[in-house]
Structures are given as structure tokens and as C-alpha cells.
């Protein structure tokens, strides 16, 4: 039986035949957190590290120093409190005494200093970042090292980060479409300066109280050791935590990672903002998960292309695409933007629900219109038949009058056929009657359906005026009839009006009120039909 040893560090027991005589638990814990090195302890004779500084507990989070410890190190700052912490350090809110403005100060884990080349990299990187002055990028004010602690002083953003916003579910697609263009501007600006962020994710995107977007931690991932030189194993250095926002070429540790990796990460964030989920494996296009414009699918999918060459080559292109879509919420005849030559050779197939194709006039509206035409024809036809019958009645009973009857005779259209109509004609006239009789209902229903179709087609189907006309025509006529009846009854009950004035007066009142009412109804219906199914409103830029 092998003797049991106790690990001097964690106190756990382990048998003597444990790997290389080391404590297995400590070996496992040493495997956490590949960004930050867990440094060597001090050597006797060398400068001692400040014992008050936090030790990086193996495998656990960095313990931020308490405010009191920091205060003496930064005499020109009034440290107000801790506002956040993570693997890359802790952030405190502070006030610059002289300028009397709020800043944020980030303290990096102390053991970072154990890598001798770190200080040099840090300085280089910080100077590059200082060039990034942009509304949508958190500005760097100062940086340095004091008592073994590396720090960065930056713009203080009074707000939340995007992760918190997503978690509280406060984002509707319109907000997402407002955030992305700002991100694109910031990224384009940085890329123009030759700086790649490499770690775009919701935690690094801040939203201030005015709704302005600010990207934080630019280039920090580069400072803290993800450079290509460290990647001796393909991808192992990068496969840490949850690298869901990382571009494929980053994940594989390729040495050719450029600004297009940021575009990929932007795409992941975009997708997550729209759908609330991450685009993993075979994922559905956004329009199939939430109610957004179909044209956004193209944009999002293109940013998420596996090959950098197939993505948008510049963040500004993404912004252009998104702006183009948002500015035309539901065009009647949408402008199909042609894919440029650098577009990917393949796009995931679209769902059957939204075929992309040329626009067309609403068929239902047309049919509805014709149906009402039928109605009128048959109406007129009936009218004519009645007139003819009357004429025949007149003929059957000769009257004393003269000219009037003769005129009537001349006017009346004599039926060309035999009074005993053939069967087929009777059948036909029944059909005509049925069709025509149902005209009002048919037209109205078809009109309503057409309106709905057009609204939801996002511009592919047009012809709203005709559809509305179909839907409203007969109901309005019925309404007008009711108005007339109302006025007639009202007026006829008034004693001071002569009976022979009932009709003309009623007519006059009807026309007046009907005009007003109809107009109101038509205008309201028109407005209602015109509002798109989803509202895309951009805040003032």
C-alpha cells in the first residue's frame, strides 16, 4: 500500500504514486485560466512583492484589492468603489481630483508582471489605444505601473453592458438595429488605425444612459498574451472559457487573424441581439426566429461566414447594409440591392415562407374588384329585366296615355329571344345572380385579405389602394344606407317638417354626414394599413 501524502498547498491527500509526485488537485487547478499566468513566488534575496497585494488564487477569480489599499497608490484619484471584476482585472469608479470628472480605473492582476516582456507590450499597446478617440470607444486617459500593479485610467461610462441588457430581455429588434451601426463606426475607426479588438462580446460593449454605445477593452486581449507567438499548439491557447464570439481563424490559432475577426464577432453579437441566442452549429436565420426584416438575414449571415474573405471586408460595409434596410421599413416596391462580386458563393437556403422574387400586384384585390363589377353588371341586368317586364306589363294593359307610353316602348329594350327562355339561359342567369348577389360580401372579404397580404409581404405585393377600396366599398354603402334611414326616421318624426320634404332633406343630411364619416373611416383605414408589421425607428443619430 502506497503511503499517503498531504499536499502542502491545498491540504488534500494524494497517494505517493500520484503524477510526478505532485498533488493532482493542484495540477488540475493550475490548468485554469490561460490568459493570466499564475506567477512564481518570490525568491529570497530578490525584491519582495507587496504582501498586501492579492495573490492570484489558483484556479479562482482574481481578488480585487480593497479600495483602501489602492487609494495611497493613486493620490490624484479619489477611488469611489469597485464596479466590476473579471479574469482580466478589476474596474473601479474614481474621480480625478484636479479635473473633477469621473473616470474608471482598471487594475490588472498583479501576477501579470511576472512576464518580463509584459511591461513593454503593455506600453506599446496602450499608446496605440490612446489614438482611439471616438464617441463609441471608451477612451484611454492614462496607464502605467505602480508598486507592481498595472493600471489603466479610462473614460467612465455610466450605464450597463450589453450582457446585462440581454439578460434582462430589454432589447427589441429595433434597438439592436440602432446599436449595430454605432459598433460598426467604432470598429471601422479602430481598424483604420490598425487596431483590432479581438474580443468583441456583449460584456465589452457598454450602453450609457443616453443610449450611446461604447466599446471597451480594445486590444487588451492582445496585451494579455494571446499573441501568435504564444500559440504553439493550434488553438489550445484560444480554447478557453466560452469562445463563442471568436472568429474561426482565431479559434484555430491562425497567424493571419486580422480585423475581419472583429466583423465575425460583431455578427455573433448581432445575431444574439436579434434572437437572444447564439449562432451555433446549424442555426436558423434571424427572420425565422423573430419578427425582423428578411433582408437582415443576408447581412448577419455574411458577417458569420467561416472564411474571412467571404465576410464583409469592412465594418463600414456592414453599417451601410444595416442602414439601408432600416431606412426602408416596408417599401411598396423594394429596391433589391444586387449582391456585389465579393459576395459568398453560397448562402444558406431561405425558408419557404419568404420567397425572394419580383414584386406583384395583389391578386386578391383584383379579383375582389372584378367581383364587384359582376355585382354591378348583374344589378344592372336585373334592373333591365325589371324594366322589360314593366314594359311588357304596359303593353299587356294598354293605357290611354299617348306619347309617354310610346316613349317607354321605344326606350325599353325588347328581349330578342323567346319569352320562354331556354334552360341554359336560366341556369346562367342564376349563376350570374348568385355571383353578383354575393358580390358585396366577396369583394369585402377579398379586399380585407388583400390588405393583410400586402401588409405582411414587406413590399413584395402592392396595390393597397385597390385592396382598401374593395374592402371598404360595400360596407360604406351599407353604412350610408343606414345613415339615410337614420335621417329619414329622425326628420319624419319632427313635426315642423313637411312630409314632401322628407326625402330631399334626408338625402341632404345623409350626403353631409356620410361624406364626413366615410372620409374619416377611409383615412383611418389607410393609416392603419400603412403601418408596417414591425416598427423600425432609429433614434436621432
Amino acid at each position: 500500500m502506497a503511503p499517503i501524502l498531504r499536499c502542502p498547498k491545498c491540504g488534500a491527500e494524494h497517494p505517493d504514486d500520484a503524477p510526478a509526485g505532485l498533488c493532482p488537485k493542484c495540477l488540475l487547478k493550475a490548468g485554469f485560466h490561460s490568459e493570466v499566468d499564475l506567477g512564481a513566488p518570490t525568491m529570497s534575496g530578490s525584491a519582495k512583492a507587496d504582501p498586501a497585494l492579492p495573490r492570484h488564487k489558483a484556479g479562482s477569480q482574481f481578488d480585487p484589492p480593497p479600495v483602501e489599499r489602492l487609494a495611497p497608490l493613486f493620490p490624484h484619484l479619489e477611488i469611489l468603489g469597485l464596479i466590476g471584476k473579471g479574469g482580466m482585472g478589476a474596474v473601479y469608479k474614481a474621480r480625478q481630483r484636479g479635473l473633477d470628472r469621473m473616470v474608471a480605473i482598471k487594475i490588472l492582476p498583479p501576477e501579470i508582471g511576472n512576464d518580463p516582456s509584459f511591461a513593454e507590450r503593455f506600453t506599446r499597446e496602450a499608446r496605440a489605444l490612446a489614438r482611439l478617440t471616438h464617441n463609441n470607444i471608451v477612451s484611454i486617459y492614462d496607464f502605467g505601473q505602480v508598486n507592481g500593479l498595472f493600471f489603466i485610467v479610462m473614460e467612465y461610462v455610466d450605464g450597463v453592458n450589453l450582457r446585462q441588457t440581454i439578460l434582462t430581455g430589454a432589447l427589441a429588434p429595433p434597438a439592436a438595429l440602432a446599436i449595430i451601426p454605432q459598433l460598426c463606426e467604432a470598429l471601422q475607426f479602430a481598424h483604420d488605425e490598425g487596431i483590432v479588438h479581438r474580443d468583441i462580446k456583449p460584456e465589452n460593449i457598454l450602453l450609457d444612459k443616453k443610449g450611446r454605445v461604447k466599446i471597451a477593452d480594445f486590444g487588451l486581449s492582445k496585451i494579455l498574451g494571446q499573441e501568435a507567438a504564444d500559440l504553439s499548439l493550434t488553438g489550445s491557447h484560444q480554447v478557453m472559457g466560452t469562445p463563442r464570439y471568436m472568429a474561426p481563424e482565431q479559434m484555430q490559432g491562425s497567424r493571419h487573424v486580422d480585423h475581419r475577426a472583429d466583423i465575425y464577432s460583431l455578427g455573433v453579437v448581432f445575431y444574439e441581439l436579434l434572437t437572444g441566442e447564439l449562432p451555433l452549429g446549424k442555426f436558423a436565420p434571424p427572420s425565422r426566429k423573430v419578427h425582423v426584416d428578411v433582408r437582415l438575414d443576408e447581412v448577419v449571415l455574411r458577417t458569420l461566414e467561416q472564411q474571412p474573405e467571404h465576410r464583409y471586408q469592412h465594418a463600414s460595409e456592414v453599417k451601410l447594409a444595416v442602414d439601408g434596410i432600416a431606412s426602408q421599413p416596408h417599401p411598396n416596391a423594394p429596391i433589391r440591392r444586387p449582391l456585389d462580386s465579393s459576395a459568398p458563393a453560397h448562402l444558406p437556403p431561405r425558408g419557404p415562407a419568404t420567397p425572394s422574387g419580383p414584386t406583384r400586384f395583389s391578386r386578391k384585390a383584383i379579383v375582389g374588384a372584378f367581383w364587384s363589377l359582376f355585382f354591378f353588371i348583374s344589378f344592372y341586368g336585373m334592373f333591365v329585366v325589371r324594366a322589360v317586364e314593366r314594359q311588357e306589363a304596359i303593353q299587356a294593359y294598354p293605357q290611354e296615355g299617348g306619347t309617354v307610353n310610346q316613349e317607354a316602348r321605344e326606350v325599353a329594350l325588347p328581349p330578342a329571344q323567346d319569352p320562354e327562355a331556354p334552360r341554359w339561359l336560366i341556369a346562367l342567369s342564376f349563376i350570374m345572380l348568385a355571383l353578383g348577389g354575393s358580390g358585396p360580401i366577396g369583394t369585402t372579404v377579398l379586399g380585407a385579405m388583400a390588405v393583410s397580404n400586402i401588409r405582411h409581404s414587406q413590399g413584395r405585393i402592392y396595390g393597397m389602394p385597390l385592396a382598401l377600396a374593395d374592402a371598404l366599398f360595400f360596407p360604406l354603402i351599407v353604412l350610408d344606407g343606414l345613415i339615410y334611414a337614420f335621417w329619414y326616421l329622425l326628420l319624419s318624426s319632427l313635426y315642423f317638417i313637411e312630409p314632401n320634404r322628407y326625402v330631399p332633406l334626408s338625402l341632404a343630411m345623409t350626403i353631409l354626414t356620410a361624406l364626413i364619416l366615410n372620409s374619416i373611416i377611409v383615412i383611418k383605414a389607410w393609416k392603419a394599413a400603412r403601418t408596417p408589421s414591425q416598427v423600425i425607428e432609429l433614434p436621432a443619430a
Partner: protein, 248 residues
């Protein structure tokens, strides 16, 4: 003149590692059989011991246990058991144990009856040293499954440390491993460092640098090794936490 500690450790790629080998197996799932087969074979060559120990616990007879183990691997790499791997599970060690249990329940009787003697195992397993290792294991009162996982962790750590040592030997810095291995787990004290500096003839700064680099290299190798047995979108740190739990 103390040797430059910056040259202490090699930075070349390790011999046989491919991250997420398990994901290759899962992804191929029968289509690219050769590729998946190779990846699986390499994984098995690294992690056969926990399986063997599990078998030995169920089957006290040494010879039979060894035959069974061989037959199991023949079965595993021969049939398309890979195709049945549930990609959602993501963990190779779970898959391996399940496959073994299935084999024990269903296939072993058939294989035994068929007396398929003379079958060359596609893997080179040193079952005899596995047996001796098993003999010297301390007794536990854990369930066989928990023991399996515990041994898995120890095997994994062994793999990593062996690779690390191998790299150092190749670079001619064999003694660096012994001197600095304490730095990996931070068990080393200041005295240990002083001793190492003296033994290797390094300056204090160089010693610090060497220790730092060894630790960093260990971590890289370790994470790569863990990643080998995960599918591509598993959380690495989460898995390390799980491995910690396996040790109890």
C-alpha cells in the same frame, strides 16, 4: 556564465496532439471511417488504463480481464460504435465507459464463444504494466464508476507531465523538470528555487523566468489534453471543474 534561461524550454508543437480529437471522431461518425478510426485509436492508446482497471474490478481473473480488454478495443475500433456516439454528451470518457458496459453485457459472451484467437489488437497496450499498476493501487471504497473517473484524471495528468518531460529531454534540459515541477502547482518554496538556481547554475531572474515558462507550457499542454477528449463547443474550464470533482 549561466545558461540563458530563455532557451530553457522548447516551443515546438508536441508530437501527437490534435486538439479536440474527440470532435473529429464525433464529426466523422462513420463517414470518414479511417480518420475517425485513427483519432479514436490514439485516444484509446492514451486512456486505456482506467478501462482496464474497471474491467479488473469486475473480473478478478487476470487473463480473462486482459483478453476482454483486448477484445473490447478490437470491437470498438472495428464496429461503427463511433456512429452511435451521442454528440450531445461531449465527453469521451463517458462514452468509453458506456461502450465498455455494453460490450460486457452483450458482446463479450459472443466474442468469447467465437474464440476469435489470434486477433491482433489494433492498439499497442502494455497490459502487463497495467496489471502491476493496478496491483499497487491503494484500496478505495468508491464505486467502480467513480474510481474509473478518478483514474481517468490521474491518467490524463500523467500524459501531460510525460509529454512535458519528453519535451524537456529533447531540449536537453531534463533536470529542469525535476527542479521546477513544484512551480506548476506552486508547491515550491523560495528555498526550492534557490536550490534549483544553484543546481542548474542559473541567475535568480533566469530561474524565475524558467519556472514561469514551465508553468505556462504545462498549462498549454494540459488544456490541449483535456480538449482532446471534448467536443468542439464544450467549455474547457467547466470540464476542468468536473475533473476536480472526480478527485473528490
Amino acid at each position: 556564465m549561466p545558461p540563458d534561461a530563455n532557451e530553457a524550454l522548447p516551443n515546438g508543437p508536441p508530437r501527437q496532439f490534435a486538439t479536440t480529437q474527440w470532435s473529429i471522431v464525433l464529426a466523422a461518425g462513420g463517414r470518414e471511417k479511417k480518420l475517425a478510426g485513427d483519432a479514436l485509436a490514439r485516444l484509446c492508446e492514451s486512456y486505456w488504463y482506467p478501462l482496464y482497471a474497471y474491467v479488473r474490478q469486475r473480473i478478478p481473473h487476470v487473463h480473462e480481464a486482459q483478453d476482454l480488454t483486448q477484445a473490447f478495443f478490437v470491437y470498438l475500433l472495428d464496429k461503427q460504435t463511433i456512429a452511435h456516439a451521442d454528440p450531445n454528451r461531449g465527453r469521451f470518457r463517458a462514452f468509453l465507459l458506456t461502450a465498455l458496459k455494453n460490450f460486457l453485457a452483450n458482446e463479450w459472451d459472443k466474442a468469447r464463444a467465437a474464440k476469435r484467437g489470434g486477433e491482433r489488437s489494433p492498439l499497442s497496450l502494455d497490459l502487463y504494466s497495467g496489471e502491476s499498476k493496478f496491483q499497487i493501487e491503494p484500496s478505495h471504497d468508491l464505486t467502480p464508476e467513480r474510481l474509473y473517473e478518478r483514474r481517468w484524471v490521474l491518467t490524463l495528468l500523467d500524459q501531460v507531465l510525460e509529454t512535458l518531460r519528453g519535451e524537456l529531454i529533447q531540449a536537453g534540459k531534463e533536470d529542469y523538470f525535476e527542479s521546477f515541477k513544484g512551480a506548476i502547482t506552486q508547491e515550491a518554496t523560495a528555498e526550492d528555487y534557490d536550490k534549483a538556481a544553484q543546481a542548474l547554475g542559473l541567475s535568480p531572474a533566469a530561474t524565475k523566468q524558467a519556472a514561469y515558462r514551465l508553468r505556462k507550457r504545462y498549462r498549454e499542454l494540459f488544456r490541449a489534453e483535456v480538449a482532446r477528449t471534448l467536443s468542439a463547443d464544450e467549455n474547457l474550464d467547466l470540464e476542468i471543474s468536473r475533473l476536480l470533482e472526480c478527485l473528490g
